[in-house]
Each structure stands twice: as structure tokens, then as C-alpha cells.
């Protein structure tokens, strides 16, 4: 991939790289060490600061908050995909009555910052007597924003298929819905899966915006726990642990995306074998010789 950029190093270059490597190690270690020293010096590594991890009540509450985050994520993800599918269908429609509004909705919702949307639902709507809980406001915001992004992904996925697929399906006498459901969608979904999952990672990260309107999720708990005097106000340790939890959750999702992509590729390699098997059934003479 990127190693085509440089030649196989000769003795001089190897020496230079080694010197640079040493400098690099010193530099990186210096930065990490300095930050680590600041942590140590300001007493963040003191055992007292980490004691809270041992309490089962805190562990349970932490798990509860992770669930709250995941709940917003799960509901937001499902709704965003539905909303995205509807918008994509609208954008792909042949009728301008559907295409126009869908395009405008996608453009507008993608241009408005998610936080402003969440504020709009949580602080703005009570003015016309629509009251939403923090959870609903976060989920609706996530749905509208990510749904619009996903609509573009869906549309691009379907447009990326060769035209011949649609033409062949029409030639076989299929109707518009049949072409979409039986021919285009199954193929497009495979192409789109990695992109969809990485958008879901974005959605998972954006649930943390709920913190700003006091939705009782993971980051909100971090702030609460970090202010507890009985544990020596362990804000820094708590932030580190919560960051690790977020990174782990997102990496698990990303890992899922990579696995899906790999499976996707393997399936493509399998396709010729499948057709051969079909040929074998179709031509008995060939199967006899096997």
C-alpha cells in the first residue's frame, strides 16, 4: 500500500532510518512520558483516585449508564436506517413530487449541526407545547441527522450497480418494486455494509451529545463520579476509563465492519464456484465426468 512510496533501503538509508527511529522513539516517549509525569505529579495515579473502580454499586451504575448509551444508539440506529431507506427511496423516485422534498430534507438535515437539532427538540419544541424527554430528543436528533447521511449512502450504493442489472430485470418483465427489492437491494446492501457500519460508529459517538442536555448516559455519569469528594474527585481517572469504554465499543463496531467486508470479499470469490455448480446441474454430462 503505502510502502511503494519508498525504495528498499540501502545501508545508508537504513542507518538514517535507524537514527530517525531512535529520535522518533525518544520523541514519542518524551511526549507520552511528559503527559504521564503530569498525571503522576498531579496525583492522578494515587491509589485513592482509582478506589471507586472496586465498588460494586459504582460498577453496576456504570453498566446501567453504558446500557443507557447503547439504548439511545440501538433505537437511533434502527430508526435512522428506516428513515434513510425512506429518504433514499424518495431520492431515487422517478416522480419529482417525491424526489424534490427528499433531496431538500437530506440537504437541510445534513447541514444543521446535530447539537442544534437536539436543542431544537429539547428546548425549542416546548414553545408549541410538545415536550420531549432527553432520551427522545437525542434519539430523534440522531435519527434525522444520520438518516439523511444514510439516505445518501443507500442512494450511492444503488447507483453504483451496473445499469445492466436494472435493464436485465426490466427485460425479464419485472415491475419497478420487484427490480428494487429482488435485484438491486440485495446487491447494493453488500457493497454498502462497511459504510453503513462506519456511519453507525459515528452515531454511537454522537450519543455522547446527550451529555450536554443532561441525558443520563455514560459521559454524564463520568461528570457525576468525577465530582465525588469521597473518592478524591477522580475526574481524570474517570475520564480515562470512560474514554476506554467508548473506544472499545466503537472498535468492536469497526471490527464488525471489517469482518463484514472480509466476508463480502470471500463471497465474491465464491460466486464462480456457485455458477459452476449450477452448470453441473444443468448439464448432466459434465457432472458424470467429474
Amino acid at each position: 500500500m503505502s510502502n511503494v512510496l519508498f525504495d528498499v533501503p540501502g545501508p545508508k538509508a537504513r542507518l538514517r532510518h535507524q537514527i530517525l527511529a531512535v529520535v522518533g522513539v525518544i520523541g514519542v516517549a518524551g511526549i507520552v512520558g511528559f503527559i504521564g509525569y503530569r498525571f503522576y505529579d498531579s496525583g492522578q495515579f494515587a491509589p485513592k483516585m482509582w478506589e471507586w473502580l472496586q465498588y460494586t454499586t459504582i460498577q453496576e451504575q456504570l453498566a446501567e449508564r453504558i446500557l443507557a448509551t447503547l439504548k439511545a444508539f440501538a433505537l437511533g440506529a434502527v430508526m435512522a436506517m428506516l428513515f434513510g431507506a425512506i429518504l433514499a427511496a424518495g431520492k431515487l423516485s422517478e416522480h419529482a413530487i417525491w424526489r424534490g422534498p427528499a433531496t431538500v430534507i437530506v440537504e437541510v438535515f445534513r447541514a444543521i449541526p446535530l447539537l442544534i437539532m437536539i436543542f431544537f427538540f429539547y428546548f425549542g419544541l416546548p414553545a408549541i407545547d410538545i415536550k420531549m424527554s432527553q432520551f427522545t430528543a437525542v434519539v430523534v436528533g440522531l435519527t434525522l441527522y444520520n438518516g439523511s447521511v444514510l439516505a445518501e449512502v443507500f442512494r450511492a450504493g444503488i447507483m453504483s450497480l451496473p445499469r445492466g442489472q436494472t435493464e436485465a430485470a426490466y427485460a425479464l418483465g419485472m415491475r419497478k418494486t420487484q427490480v428494487m427489492v429482488l435485484v438491486l437491494l440485495p446487491q447494493a446492501l453488500r457493497v454498502m455494509l462497511p459504510t453503513i457500519v462506519s456511519q453507525l460508529v459515528v452515531l454511537l459517538k454522537d450519543t455522547a451529545l446527550g451529555f450536554i442536555i443532561n441525558y443520563k448516559e455514560l459521559l454524564d455519569y463520568a461528570k457525576y463520579l468525577g465530582g465525588q469528594g469521597q473518592f478524591g474527585r477522580p475526574l481524570v481517572p474517570v475520564t480515562l476509563v470512560v474514554a476506554a469504554i467508548y473506544v472499545t465499543m466503537c472498535l468492536l463496531l469497526t471490527w464488525l465492519a471489517v469482518t463484514l467486508e472480509k466476508r463480502n470479499r470471500r463471497d465474491k470469490k465464491l460466486t464462480p464456484i456457485d455458477t459452476k455448480a449450477l452448470d453441473d446441474v444443468a448439464i448432466p454430462a459434465a457432472s458424470q465426468s467429474m
Binding site: 511503494v4 512510496l5 498525571f39 414553545a127 459521559l219 474514554a243
Partner: protein
Amino acid sequence: MSLLSTYSGLFLSAFATTLKLFAFSAVGSLLLGTILAMMRVSPVPVFRAAGATYVTLVRNTPLTLVFFFFTFAYPLLKILKLDYEQGAIVALTLYTSAFICEVVRSGINTVPVGQAEASRALGLTFTQMLGSVVLPQAMRSVVPPLVSTLIALLKNTTVSAGFSVGDAGAIQSTLSEEGANMLVGLSWVAFFFVVLVLPLTFLQRSLEKRWSVAR
């Protein structure tokens, strides 16, 4: 309309802060992102590993958490005092640079292998090859996704409103103190963001169209 004329000063100063945050962190993250991208394609494994670790960690951390760290946890470390606005710029820069790094790196990877090989054959050094052959070509495929990253940055500046910075996201809290109609006020904020973002989107689309033909 009446709300907008009553609070025109508030809207102006808030959006000025937003644009200031955007400008500073855009420049900062473009610089840091390019450095990170060069680290990730460099021949020295340590630099590659360091760049990759940074990008993986930051890309999988919510921006709100980065802000949280710089507002609440960072001051406890007593490294260098940052006020809320500077903290916001640092948080936005660190966060966005990871995405810029990935955009630049994938741009470098779209340049055909033959280009790098040919410049090596001509005896160019690594820096010369990167500077005068690979990067100028990579720019073409980099600029459209770069613009989308910057659009995302512009929208992300609103997160700083949750952390004591008086940017466009914070208009809401002032309006609420004054008892103004929040629905109207927030609609105006949303409207101005659409006005700011849409031209950038169109610029990105047209660049993408014009340059995709050239390749």
C-alpha cells in the same frame, strides 16, 4: 424577524465566535493532520505506529468526551493554562486532525504506484518525491473529502457550547435566560448554519465532478 432584530448583537457575536473557532482549528488540524499523514506513510516504523495509534484512538472517541477532557480533566494536570475558548480550539484541532490525516493518506494511496516508482527511478529523494510528484496529484482526490471534513468541523464547533464557550450553539442558553421564544431562535440558528454549509457543499460537489473527470 423581530427576534432576530432584537438579538442581532447576540447572533453576530456568537457566529463570529463560531467562525473564529472554525478558522483556528481548521488551520491547526490541517497542519497536524498532514504531519500525521506523513508519519503514517513514512519509512520509519515508529512514526507509522505512533500515527496509527493516535488516529485509531481519536477517531473512536466522541468529540464531546474530548471537550470533556479539556474542560474538566486537563486543568487538573496543570500543564499549560487554557481558557475555555483555547481549550475548545485544542479539542477541535486534535479531533479533526485524525480525520484529515485519513483523508490525506487515502489521497496519497490513490496516486498510481508508477508515479512513485518513476520518481524514484529519476533519483528523487523521499521528500522531493512526496513534495513535487505524489502530493500535488493527491491534492485532486483529497480536496473534495477535505471540504466535507471541514464542513463537519464547522458543525462540530457547536459542541463547545456545552462547555462554556459563547458560540452559535450557546445562543440557546442566552435566549432561555431572557425568556425569548426558543423555537424561533433555534430555527434561526439552524437556518444560518444551512446558509454557511450549503455553499461549501456545492463547492465540494463541483470540485468532485470537475476533478473526477480528469483522473
